[in-house]
């Protein structure tokens, strides 16, 4: 697809922006099995391959399990590897996701968030990437097309950082972000190449002068030591995310952190929410602020590793917080973000009241009025100090 730019600005869907970022990164290998709503990422990237715009080896495989397996093989051979998927596709990659992170392979995956079956559904929720939250992948969430594009470019540096060496998943909302056109600022190919740099894997299966064994068995003598090492690495990656964001801002002017606070500092009540629904919530915040209600928003950008200290610090003075999850941790204690955030706030001296609201599953609309209704509930909780309903579904 030809992209027309005016002063570096272009109108692009989320999928086109991801495919364009992949073109600019020019990975060595891209094994892929397209699935709605991420199909266009691979469709457009395949055009770049066919047109000779990239030197990437595009491997068309027979399933997502094979796609991730091929990613692992190529990464073990020392290649810079990228792929994209959604929903059932990510679910089919499951066992390989753990192998990618356990073998410390810096693979980059775009997950265009889509609900999991059953019932079968192609629209947005976060049950796919939330299901992969313990797989050892770093997870970045994106509110807009611009952020998805910027996150993907930063993901390469984060994954390949020598103190990290872990796979990264960049998440954006299916259809809402993947198929809606936004005006975004693109970087030049040289800027992207200069930022991501060249990738030189420490060990590669193709270096026959220095043969290595990868993916070997590890029994009780040392399995836990490898897991300890991996756990330390993903915890450390938080600093790398900030370091990479800082360099990104220095070069290109757009600022990213571990999370975004919107009118949060002096807020008494706040909604915590991921991805595109944060935009809707910001409109609600503005409307309520006009009426004098001290409402605010916190949108986590980094969910894995979970920046519990920073989030607790940002929310410790709030009176009431609602965590809105676009995924249910079936019969767990609230949604996944709620569960971890509430736990992060446990050690705060004056613990805020925190409630769980599950919204928008399978692409159900989340509107400004839904956010306002939550804020009104929070207002009552803040005034009375009493929580009527700790967890419930909204937008139903």
């Amino acid at each position: 697809m030809a992209i027309t730019m005016t002063k570096g600005q272009a109108g692009l869907t989320g999928n086109s922006a991801i495919a364009y970022a992949m073109k600019q990164i020019n990975p060595d290998v891209c094994p892929a099995y397209p699935i709605t709503p991420s199909t266009a990422v691979i469709e457009e990237f395949a055009s770049y391959v066919a047109d000779g715009a990239v030197t990437t080896e595009l491997i068309t495989v027979e399933s997502e399990h094979s796609a991730m397996s091929a990613c692992i093989g190529a990464a073990a051979a020392g290649a810079r590897v990228m792929t994209a998927t959604s929903s059932q596709g990510l679910a089919l990659m499951w066992e390989m996701l753990y192998i990618a992170s356990g073998m410390r392979l810096p693979i980059i995956l775009t997950d265009v968030n889509r609900a999991l079956s059953a019932p079968i559904n192609i629209h947005c929720d976060h049950s796919d990437s939330m299901g992969a939250r313990d797989s050892g992948w770093i997870q970045l969430y994106s509110e807009t097309v611009q952020e998805a594009y910027d996150n993907l470019i930063q993901a390469v540096r984060i994954a390949e950082d020598e103190t990290v060496q872990l796979p990264v998943m960049v998440c954006l909302d299916g259809f809402i972000t993947s198929h809606a056109i936004e005006n975004i600022t693109l970087l030049s190919d040289e800027e992207v190449q200069g930022f991501v740099g060249e990738y030189n894997a420490k060990t590669t299966l193709l270096d026959i002068d220095h043969p290595v064994t990868m993916g070997a068995m590890s029994l009780p003598e040392n399995y836990i030591d490898f897991k300890f090492q991996q756990s330390e690495a993903i915890a450390r990656s938080k600093d790398t995310v900030l370091k990479v964001a800082e360099d990104f801002e220095k070069r290109f002017g757009r600022k990213y952190g571990l999370f975004e606070g919107y009118r949060l500092e002096d807020a008494e009540i706040a909604i915590v929410i991921l991805n595109s629904a944060a935009g809707t919530t910001k409109v609600a915040v503005d409307e309520l602020r006009k009426k004098g209600l001290k409402a605010g928003l916190l949108r986590p950008r980094l969910f894995r590793p979970f920046p519990f200290k920073e989030l607790a610090e940002a929310l410790k003075d709030k009176k009431a917080i609602a965590v809105l999850d676009r995924a249910d941790s079936m019969n767990g204690f609230g949604g996944p973000v709620f569960n971890e955030l509430r736990s992060a706030l446990y050690d705060v001296p004056k613990r805020p009241k925190v409630v769980s609201r599950i919204y928008g599953l399978g692409g159900r609309d989340y509107k400004v009025k839904d956010a306002i209704a939550v804020f009104e509930e929070l207002k009552t909780i803040a005034e009375t100090g009493m929580v009527d309903t700790l967890q419930k579904y909204i937008t139903i």
């Binding site: 060990t203 043969p211 290595v212 064994t213 990868m214 070997a216 040392n222 030591d225 490898f226």
Partner: protein
């Protein structure tokens, strides 16, 4: 590994062919036994053995590497019907 925390990144072993140092012969319940008189040295067993445990010398089948043979019996199964030079026997016997 003296320092338990100093394990190689991602479990990479900095050398190849490490399976050679791992004895899997102890897993064996059935042991392959070669009848040299019947064997025609077609080497189908050498081709088929999943553990590279068939030993050859000068293009001739001379026996098994019992340090690595797991006793799967593929060699005995693949040995041509007219020859059947390999028999699987109970280790216990």
């Amino acid at each position: 590994m003296a320092d338990k925390k100093a394990v190689p990144l991602g479990g990479v072993i900095p050398e190849g062919g490490t399976a050679d140092g791992y004895s899997t012969g102890g897993w064996r319940k059935l042991r392959p036994v070669l009848n040299k008189e019947k064997c025609t040295n077609c080497l189908i067993c050498w081709v088929m053995c999943p553990d590279s445990a068939v030993i050859t010398e000068d293009g001739k089948m001379i026996g098994f590497d019992l340090e690595h043979c797991k006793g799967c019996g593929i060699c005995a199964m693949e040995c041509p019907d007219k020859v059947k030079a390999i028999k699987m026997e109970e280790e216990a016997d």
